[in-house]
Symmetry: C2
Subunit: 604 residues, 2 copies
């Protein structure tokens, strides 16, 4: 019997990726930009985190690629593209983790091919050549071996440095706000040798969490929450209680040697255009100090300033009333009546703790809310990247972060809609029960669910950790509509419903982060940089036009030397790297020409 072996033209995922990278690099090496652009699909996305653009920027399609490279290819001089591990194949998509170099740095990235064309490409700066962090084989020795010309101990050097910083030595960067964002950035700047101070108004690091309502726990699971350098140990709870995460942040600040001024309030800041330097007045535990940093980073929380509605009768209401961010917890309201205005995360958490501590509580739902059960979110939403299952399958935090970052915001909702379809099906009885109780549900304007709401508007949802059952069976009472006014002892809704109240909690959300800039620097600067957060998705609370990346976050703004940093622990971990590298490059006097500086379309 004769067997004919057909010659095969099928290539392996590794061969496909290697071939694409080789030609991509070759075309860039000879600066043939059109040839590079032709390697991308018609519908394609190149997301760059600082490596090519000195910006956080997604360009779309061949024109976008060509435009970006036209501006940046020569300077960037990219080369040595290679895979970090074997590429994988899923249907017609081939995916690969990458490494590469530029003239000034080393990068990592991610590539998705459809056929032989790039569908998505992520390029992310990882380190600057000659300015690598000292870790692993290059970590510092600690002890001085041999004859030491500097007789000071480590503790004495640290103390001398602390004494000088902000007085005889100016910080290059001043980070305002010392929650997880400021702390993570402070740790990275410390490792990179950029003189910085993180200032925070609280008594000690972690109080940003400790001082909130007592039942608060992180709503994101531990695998999503690691800080840079020092992951949580394997016995850390899935959802950190607020005081425990507070202790961790305090510990982290100390052992990472973050230069951190507690009990410090920023009073005012102004920028000297000619000197390219800020003048910032701070009150440090009663002492007035003027600082002159080159860069100012607002890390005061992506949520911005608390929004409290102005209502008739607030002046005559005789009970307690406060914003959710100032809510002390249930203890002083046992046996009393509480009305919580709002129906998102804080409202649910506060209502649950009030109910469980014997308070008669009513939640006022003013508009529809997106609800996802925590278990479902963990298993279906995050499980492939951030879970014990992912860890067991070899997923690292770095790979998960790169995968997450590799999905272009423009099409991210397309990946998210099926996730929430699955959740809706899985938990249909739960949702039916909530609806039957009169709770007004939504899934986002395009049914794309929680994470898109977070990215677009940072609000409008509750991750259920138990309050929904209390709402569904009426233990937490539910009312609907806008608030018309307060009386001495009640809340009156637009339809005339009167809710007796000893306590009113305004769980009414937060403004845009540039509100902090208005307070600190001036309304002119706040307007100059415009709205912070959101994508321009033209959905509720995220007006168009499409901007491609989150507004003003971790990247240059229209105000020179002013930066915004914040978000959840994941974002604080991952994006602090790119902000730190941008600051480090400027500190070292490297050229950092920004491609595609964002325009301002909205003031707040």
């Amino acid at each position: 019997m004769t067997q004919i072996v057909e010659p095969t033209t099928a290539t392996s995922p590794q061969q496909r990726v290697d071939a694409w990278l080789a030609d991509f690099e070759a075309a860039m090496a000879v600066r043939e930009i059109d040839r590079v652009a032709q390697k991308f699909a018609i519908d394609s996305f190149w997301r760059d985190l600082v490596a090519f653009t000195w910006n956080i920027k997604t360009v779309e399609g061949r024109d976008g690629v060509a435009d970006m490279l036209g501006a940046r290819l020569s300077d960037t001089a990219p080369h040595s593209f290679r895979t970090r591990e074997a590429p994988t194949e899923d249907g017609d998509v081939t995916s690969a983790f990458l490494e590469f170099e530029t003239a000034v740095g080393r990068g990592v990235g991610h590539l998705r091919l459809k056929g032989n064309q790039a569908w998505t490409l992520l390029t992310a700066l990882h380190e600057l050549k000659g300015h690598e962090e000292r870790r692993g084989p290059t970590r510092v020795l600690g002890a001085v071996h041999g004859d030491d010309p500097d007789p000071r101990s480590w503790a004495e050097k640290r103390a001398d440095e602390d004494d000088a910083l902000g007085r005889t030595a100016q910080p290059y960067a001043l980070v305002v706000g010392g929650g997880q964002g400021g702390i993570a950035l402070g740790a990275r700047l410390r490792q990179l040798g950029v003189p910085a101070i993180v200032v925070d108004r609280h008594e000690r690091p972690g109080d940003q969490w400790r001082n909130r309502y007592k039942s608060l726990c992180l709503h994101d699971p531990v695998w999503y929450d690691h800080l840079p350098y020092l992951p949580f140990p394997a016995n850390w709870p899935v959802f950190s209680p607020k005081d425990k995460i507070g202790d961790w942040l305090e510990f982290y600040t100390r052992v990472m040697e973050v230069p951190y001024w507690s009990k410090t309030t920023c009073l005012s800041a102004s920028f000297d255009d000619s000197a390219q330097t800020w003048t910032v007045d701070v009150d440090r535990d009663g002492e007035r100090i003027t600082l002159h940093p080159s860069h100012l980073v607002l890390a005061t929380g992506m949520s911005g300033k608390p929004s409290v509605p102005t209502l008739p009768g607030q002046d005559v209401f005789s009970g307690d009333q406060h914003h959710s961010s100032a809510h002390p917890g249930p203890d002083r309201y046992v046996g009393k009546k509480a009305v919580v205005i709002g129906s998102n995360n804080s409202a649910h958490d506060i209502c649950k703790a009030l109910y469980e501590n014997g308070v008669d509580v009513t939640m006022v739902q003013r508009s529809s809310t997106h609800i996802v059960k925590s278990d479902s979110l963990m298993e279906i939403g995050l499980g492939d990247l951030y879970s014990e299952r992912a860890v067991a399958a070899g997923m690292t935090t770095e790979k998960a972060d790169l995968t997450f970052a590799s999905l272009p915001y423009r099409i991210l909702h397309e990946f998210q809609i099926p996730v929430y379809d699955a959740i809706r099906e899985r938990d249909k009885d739960f949702y039916a029960k909530l609806a039957a109780a009169g709770f007004d549900l939504d899934w986002g304007d395009d049914d794309s669910g929680l994470f898109m709401k977070y990215l677009r508007r940072g609000s409008g949802y509750y991750i259920d950790v138990g309050a929904c059952d209390l709402v569904a069976d009426g233990r937490i009472k539910l009312a609907h509509g806008q608030v018309d006014r307060l009386t001495e002892d009640s809340v009156v809704l637009a339809d005339g419903t009167e809710l007796p109240a000893d306590l009113v909690v305004y769980a009414t959300g937060y403004g845009s982060m540039n509100g902090w800039a208005a307070d600190l620097i001036g309304q002119d600067v706040a307007d100059k940089v415009g709205k912070v957060w959101g994508l321009g998705s033209d959905t509720t609370k995220d007006p168009g036009p499409w901007e491609g990346e989150q507004r003003n976050m971790w990247k240059p703004t229209q105000q020179p030397n002013l930066w915004f940093h914040g978000g959840n622990l994941h974002q604080s971990r991952h994006y602090s790297l790119y902000l730190a590298l941008q600051l480090k490059a400027r500190y070292e006097g490297m050229a950092t020409p920004v491609y595609g500086l964002q325009e301002v379309h909205h003031l707040s």
Copy 2:
């Protein structure tokens, strides 16, 4: 051409180990002890850490194996022996990491075969069935999802627990001494759910290090020093400065939720034989509290109490004199003359810091000293197990610890002698220079070097981080002999040499740890348990007979419910597990019949 394939009888390492384990397990299953013993070589060692013996015990040869199994095989009921990864081969020795189970626990281990017979076997209890630590997939949730019957927050529960502990709730174990040993044990007991208190006299955790001389750094490198659960990050220095390790210990204590009483001194302790309970009086920051723990752990440092010689003239000497453990550092002695009695680690560190801060310093060498350069020790002594090179080669801390533990103490010096031969050759110029300066060198009684000195006597060496060059070229002056007396302003040696002095530092070492038991409980109990530390090697300061394991460390003693714990960070990490499991088993009321309880041959 005809090719004849010879049938091969050669087996792979995996096959050899699998075959040995299968027959070993089968023979144990049918309780054929002689058959088990025959599987061991004539010269062989079985080291057990709690899994079979409820003790830390090495038995030697077939008779030793048979005797131990005769006492312990039925109860232990071992089974499911298997390799954890592919065995390796080196000459005629096949090595394998193991897992196995017993009636009550799961174990890990290590096997070395010579041919088809066991040369060394290590069996180590890893966890107790039904009492596994919650970590990874079984970690606690943190937040309470659903309707919470306990309205207290995490912080409130912790505060209530702290308030009750030692007052309305008695600790099962009281750990005296909160350095790295007490803290690591406290963390493990916490994870295992054993009620415990760690008491320590200092202001806060870490002061055990902070309060020492200012130039002190760890002499062991970072890879050797990880604490349980929470390894140092990749940017941690190779040799931690004392204040930095102090900060780490303080925050480790906090984030691991170790129940820790600072500013607490133990005043007295006595054991009630009938109640099997201790009565311990403590002073907690001025308040007298009586505790009733079932178990008392002395974790006051393997070095025991400072030894200060009694010398004529100490009463007339007008300068400062103190033991090295109380030395404040050089600052107050600038421009003065110091005499440091002793020539081991503390003496060298203190002399170096004094010299570098402008003090005229003389070291008095009373007997020969073993010197090893830190670099050489790291590269040749520890490099295969604890180094960046080891990490890069896939070595984990757990595997390194098991490998380290698998080498029987009886023959450990045979492994060590070639290491120090190599170091002597590598650094011959360095040693020649020191000898030429009159420094009296040794390599241990049998040339087995530093680690054997540490295990046998815990003293007699200096890991050079630079002081030797200062000694060699005379910047640190050297004198020899015993001290005869002090005068008002000098130290007079036996040969009449008079050394002018404003400061005398007694770097004269420490006594046995049972000295702490004498102070706290009484001389009768100290004598009952006898000398702590050392192996019975019949070398200097470690008199015979051979005892096989370190005396009284981490295992039952002749005093019921009294335990000793301590050592360097490596030992604090690794052996705290076995001590914690022994305490946990007793706390849960499991039978813990001890095989081969050590006898007492020396009182101190």
